[in-house]
């Protein structure tokens, strides 16, 4: 390949024309409360893992909804499953179960029954 002295970056756009959030649909089947998230960030505020790593459940839920799984695949297993986020969530979202489902899917390649 000829080196023209520059490189072309991958698009950083969330392209909703080409991405489809199959994972999010599966997640909703397993954990319907995921649909009621309002992105308020209470989970991320109380999260112990989030104080020291870039784990952020609000962001993960949003990216999952947008079909961008690759962005959170490396960080999903930083959750310690302590469940504080579930206590704090004003919408009663089963946050722990969501993390477990996403973890299983991204790292074992499937969603358990």
């Amino acid at each position: 390949m000829i080196n023209f002295g520059y490189q072309r970056n991958e698009s950083a756009t969330l392209d909703l024309d080409t991405t489809h959030s199959e994972l999010y649909k599966k997640l909703l089947d397993k954990e319907p409360s995921a649909a009621t998230c309002i992105s308020c960030g209470t989970c991320a505020a109380t999260c112990s893992a989030g104080q020291f790593t870039d784990f952020n459940l609000r962001k993960i839920m949003l990216l999952c909804k947008r079909g961008d799984m690759q962005s959170f695949k490396p960080i999903i297993n930083r959750c310690m499953v302590c469940g504080k986020c579930q206590l704090a969530c004003p919408k009663g979202v089963n946050t722990r179960n969501i993390v477990l489902i996403l973890n299983k899917y991204l790292h074992a390649g499937k969603i358990s029954k």
Partner: protein, 356 residues
């Protein structure tokens, strides 16, 4: 102006006196007062029933009103002046018993007084969420955590200070306390707290220009006329800091300052902030007596606890029971102008009902 409206809008008392009907209005907040004022001007006999010793409801406890910063007592006094002592005000009582006889209602009050009326208007209003129930925010535990109603009292008494008597150098407002929160059983938005928080933030900056003010919100609902102007002024004139994030918890340090934890959701990072005074924007809940009143009158509430109406678009002043009308915040959170408009609509409808 008062004279013209009095002459144009209402029938002459002499015309209607022979058709005089009686109405019991339950609750004497602004909705009850406004309806009483209209109905008595139509020539009907009005009983205004109040559980407390004074009329005026929550507006009587407020200092200034958004978005114009009008004094609440000016508005309330205007309404009371318009009522002009034409209603029979019964204070310190509630409805003990209610029985329907043909088209009339026989009410027994808690002081054993009997009333026979042709219709009932329910204007029982709301109650303010008790902030103690959101324990993680520390109201009643940390001395520098107060509610928006506490702050209104401080404004009225011209004494906005921390517990130790010093003026706050840093202050934060927490939106949606007891609203949009399924954990306390309130899914609904209380509608007025966002505007109140922005109003109070501006008032704090007016009082203490060097005080740093933060508003922690989930969504800013500046829905009504001039609200956006107020928000604009909070930014442009007062430099209030708006942070999009909901508090997970508050703590206290040795100096009795309040340490709050939230996520700055726009920056995507956890955020810590220490303030001298934390103000919780407590929302609206159904009146604590609503269930009791419902059982006496045969009324129904929706799942949010506020009263059901026959049709939320076209018959929103009718309850499920014939002859019982509803107005004001007992059918859901409303601003003051909305409450008054609702109340006037109910009075007009009631008048048609009574004359039919």
């Amino acid at each position: 102006m008062g004279k013209i409206s009095e002459n144009l809008n209402y029938p002459k008392i002499s015309v209607v006196v022979k058709n005089m009907k009686s109405i019991a209005i339950i609750g004497s907040g602004i909705a009850g007062i406004e309806a009483a004022s209209r109905l008595s001007k139509f020539g009907h006999k009005v009983y205004l029933i109040e559980k407390n010793s004074e009329i005026g409801g929550y507006v009587a406890q407020w200092d200034r009103l958004f978005p114009s910063q009008t004094e609440a007592k000016t508005v309330l006094n205007d309404l009371i002046k318009k009522l002009n002592n034409r209603a029979e005000v019964l204070t310190n009582v509630t409805v003990q018993h209610c029985e329907k006889k043909d088209r009339q209602f026989e009410l027994v009050l808690t002081d054993n007084k009997h009333l026979v009326v042709d219709a009932i208007l329910v204007t029982t209003g709301f109650d303010i969420f008790r902030a103690e129930r959101k324990e993680e925010y520390g109201y009643g535990i940390y001395e520098n955590v107060i509610t928006s109603s506490d702050l209104e009292k401080m404004f009225a008494e011209n004494n906005v200070v921390c517990k130790n008597g010093e003026s706050p150098k840093r202050l934060a407002f927490v939106h949606c306390v007891g609203s949009r929160d399924e954990k306390v059983g309130n899914r609904h938005c209380s509608k007025v707290c966002c505007a109140t928080a922005v109003k109070q933030a501006c008032e704090i900056k007016e009082l203490y220009p060097s005080c740093e003010v933060f508003n922690l919100y989930m969504d800013l609902r500046m829905f009504d006329r001039h609200f956006e102007d107020m928000y604009h002024e909070a930014q442009s004139k007062y430099h209030v800091n708006f942070i999009r994030g909901r508090l997970s918890e508050a703590g206290e340090n040795k100096e009795h300052q309040v340490i709050i934890k939230t996520e700055d959701t726009l920056a995507g990072k956890p955020l810590k902030l220490t303030v001298d005074l934390l103000v919780l924007m407590t929302g609206m809940e159904p009146c604590y007596l609503q269930k009791t009143i419902n059982s006496k009158l045969g009324l129904r509430s929706d799942t949010d606890g506020f009263l059901s109406t026959k049709n939320s678009f076209t018959e929103n002043n009718l309850s499920n029971a014939d002859g019982i009308f509803v107005a004001g915040t007992c059918t859901g959170p409303k601003t003051i102008p909305e409450t008054l408009a609702d109340s006037r609509a109910a009075a007009g409808l009631l008048n048609s009902y009574l004359m039919s």
